[in-house]
């Protein structure tokens, strides 16, 4: 139960001398100017989709939208499967459902053959317009003796296992060059699909240009996008659509282990007495700090690019061990994280919400 407010303290608060202090006009003007500037850059249509998306991504609706998505996927899959079946078999040749269901094994076929051999010789089946299952399987008949017509008359359920070749040849693995011309490796999920920067673009343009112009890519790092890159722009990152995992394949998975933050975490695991020296916290590398780094690693995974600029002047979060500084981390105002470590200097874009989350978590250390 909530304690009631103390009327005396509340009375004193109401009469405190700062009660009617006004916000300085300059501050107010700055805030409203920024609000206008950002509102002007908000296309209505995009806002509608964003609101629709955010409305449906609320936790209480996620379950419902997830179920809808699952039903939709199942439906499409099911229809697709039916369609495939329909394409394989001409309409007049489709066996009844009961005939399709039990797909005979080799043992079944042998038993059929034995049954056929045990039965008195029956007159050969009359040619039928369709190779229906209704015809007795002439499996006991030596294959060599079958005429093409007879073979054509074989029921599809018997013929199917004999056709050892798969219905469709496995797709040839696409060459790496086809995935990403000019690069030896396929791209990572986030980079290629980044949308053009919007309002914050001007702040990052120079940096983006310098980054994307670099032809070389650090081993295991995400190469810069060939499209309009906007890393550092939180809204653009949100719109990033990862490539399907089937395209990325094992190369991407192997990159995860080379993530600079993962390397740092490994290094910390191997350090005897790791500790942190930050503006607000100077102490051991505890579970809270490690969870914070893990959160950062997850948020920046696959987005790291080499940093060419000098490190910021502002004090970063230093991680040290007995031999000195292992790494320094900066959460930059432009919506990025910078990591300077043994592996080099790296930058990755972060969502604004992630930055808020990281900052508030750090504020609790």
């Amino acid at each position: 139960m909530s304690p009631p407010p103390d009327p005396w303290l509340q009375g004193a608060l109401r009469h405190a001398p700062d009660r009617d202090t006004d916000v300085p006009a300059a501050v107010r003007d700055t805030i409203l100017r920024e609000a206008r500037r950002h509102a002007a850059a908000t296309p209505a249509a995009r806002g509608r989709w964003r609101r629709w998306f955010s409305a449906w991504s609320q936790p209480q609706r996620l379950g419902y939208s997830g179920a809808l998505a699952a039903v939709w996927v199942a439906g499409v899959w099911g229809l697709n499967g039916l369609d495939e079946e329909a394409r394989k078999t001409p309409l007049q040749d489709r066996p009844a459902a009961a005939e399709i269901a039990p797909r005979p094994t080799v043992v079944d076929r042998m038993a059929d053959a034995a049954d056929t051999a045990a039965q008195p010789a029956a007159p050969p089946p009359a040619p039928r317009p369709s190779p229906s299952v209704a015809a007795p399987p002439p499996a006991a008949e030596p294959r060599a003796s079958r005429s093409p017509d007879a073979r054509a008359a074989l029921p599809s359920r018997v013929a199917a296992p004999e056709m050892a070749a798969p219905a469709a040849p496995p797709p040839a693995a696409p060459p790496a060059q086809a995935l990403r011309p000019g690069h030896a490796e396929p791209s990572t999920p986030a980079a290629p699909a980044l949308a053009p920067a919007r309002e914050e673009a001007s702040m990052n343009d120079a940096h983006v240009a310098s980054t994307t112009a670099r032809p070389e890519v650090a081993p295991g790092m995400a190469p810069p996008a060939s499209g309009p890159p906007a890393w550092g722009n939180a809204s653009a990152v949100r719109q990033a659509a990862p490539l399907p995992s089937s395209v990325l394949g094992a190369t991407t998975l192997s990159k995860v282990s080379l993530d600079p933050m993962s390397m740092l975490l490994r290094r910390l695991d191997g350090s005897a007495h790791p500790r942190w020296a930050t503006p607000g916290y100077d102490g051991p590398d505890g579970a809270v700090q490690r969870a914070w780094l893990e959160r950062l690693r997850g948020a920046a995974a696959g987005r790291w690019v080499p940093a060419r600029e000098a490190p910021p002047q502002a004090p970063g979060l230093k991680i040290l061990d007995d031999r000195g500084t292992i790494a320094t981390v900066w959460i930059l105002p432009a919506g990025q994280v910078r990591l300077d470590a043994d592996s080099g200097s790296w930058l990755a874009p972060l969502r604004e919400a992630t930055i808020d989350e990281l900052e508030s978590a750090r504020a609790r250390w």
Partner: protein, 207 residues
């Protein structure tokens, strides 16, 4: 028929669609309370940075307009959460220790209220005090600001959100991102300390 006031959520949604007037209404609605909260949170020592914290809080609102959705918390609660984070960050950046628990620094054990001083307080102020009563409560207000400075930040924020901004304890807990019981404990300690601080000052001999 009284006009139905547009809710904060509706205004924020309108601003996300590009309606600047909606933002201006939101700003006018909350700027005074937020500014007061920020100034009291940063305290006298960091008063020069209060404007920066206040501005940064609103800019966060501007930048988050697309993503904001009322997920259980009101806009006002969210606004104060943003301001609280920035105030805490400012304290940390300035090298001040910020106790997280907010009630583990009571030093000499459980606090015991000074009932003797407390019982000499006058009745709570009327809605429009005047004359001597008004002078008394103004002095009390000054004294309370001094007492607030001595409170640990977590207790200070819990008290201000609950007593000045009128947030129910549930929302205080949400704004401070702590559990209900933690918020309640912080509030209880804050009230006890402030009563002690104010009681000693406002005892009859001190008046």
């Amino acid at each position: 028929m009284p006009a139905i006031e547009t809710t904060d959520d509706e205004l924020m949604a309108a601003y996300a669609r590009g309606d600047v007037a909606a933002f201006e209404r939101l700003y006018e609605r909350h700027q005074s309370a937020l500014y007061r909260f920020v100034r009291r949170m940063v305290g006298v020592a960091l008063a020069a940075q209060a404007d920066e914290v206040f501005q940064d809080t609103w800019l966060r609102v501007v930048h988050s307009r697309d993503r904001w959705a009322p997920q259980g918390a009101t806009f006002r609660t969210w606004l104060f959460t943003l301001a609280h984070h920035r105030a805490i960050d400012l304290h940390r950046r300035s090298g001040r220790e910020v106790s997280i628990d907010g009630h583990d620094d009571d030093g000499d054990g459980p606090w015991q209220p000074d009932g003797a001083a407390w019982q000499h307080w006058p009745a709570p102020p009327s809605s429009e005090p005047d004359g001597a009563e008004l002078a008394f409560w103004r002095r009390a207000g000054e004294r309370l600001l001094d007492c607030l400075e001595q409170l640990p930040l977590p207790q200070r924020s819990a008290f201000l959100l609950h007593h000045d901004d009128g947030l129910p304890l549930n929302d205080v807990a949400r704004a401070l991102e702590v559990g209900f019981e933690t918020a309640k404990t912080r509030l209880r300690y804050a009230m006890s300390k402030l009563r002690t601080c104010m009681g000693a000052y406002l005892a009859p001999e001190a008046r």
